[in-house]
Amino acid sequence: MKILYFAWLRSKIGVATETVDLPAEVGDVGALVEWLKTRSPKHADALANSTVVKVAVNQEHVPYDHPVGPGDEVALFPPVTGG
């Protein structure tokens, strides 16, 4: 699975993208965020407050109960501030 990070999530984690092998038990966005926290202290710090971590699956905004699978492109980012 391809994971993308934007804005301060990217700065805190230190990479813009990473490819991960998804454990079988990770079936939705909420479980994915919890699992990503275990990858490093930087991940744990960046993802500590899930109320400010928004998620898109295949370039669509989704809630935390949205399913995820190995072929998905998942992006994690703070609330958007364009315009």
Binding site: A7, S11, E60, H61, P78, T81, G82, G83
Partner: protein, 152 residues
Amino acid sequence: MTVKVQSEDFDVGAELAVMTGGKTGIGGVTLFVGLVRDMAGGESVSAMTLEHYPGMTERQLEAIEAEARARWPLDDALIIHRYGRLEPGDRIVLVATASAHREAAFESCHFLIDWLKTKAPFWKMEATPEGERWVEAKASDDTAAARWAKPA
């Protein structure tokens, strides 16, 4: 219906001319142009850098433009949003809507900028005397977008 995501500046008059050229059924155009301010939260801002999510940005802008077209009788709509490093006074975003009648143009332009601010994946980083900082989303932007929610 046009969406452009670009680093370079845009010419409002030229864009307007292209949008309305030959379309004599248009009775009015509403334009919104967003600019970089030199102050934010009481601190001076010397520059702003806009990051975005290539691919998703265009998809989201096209989706909100389609939503505007479904809600109002529009002859045309245009969204241009810049990314990269900008300075105070620089143009950030242009939203333009054209319709036979002014109400549709005014309302759809307002709708587009409100929805863009909460749905299009852009993030601003400001350079201030205290250093660089990511701009936080405002609750007032969510409130502004929510007023366009369809009645249940």
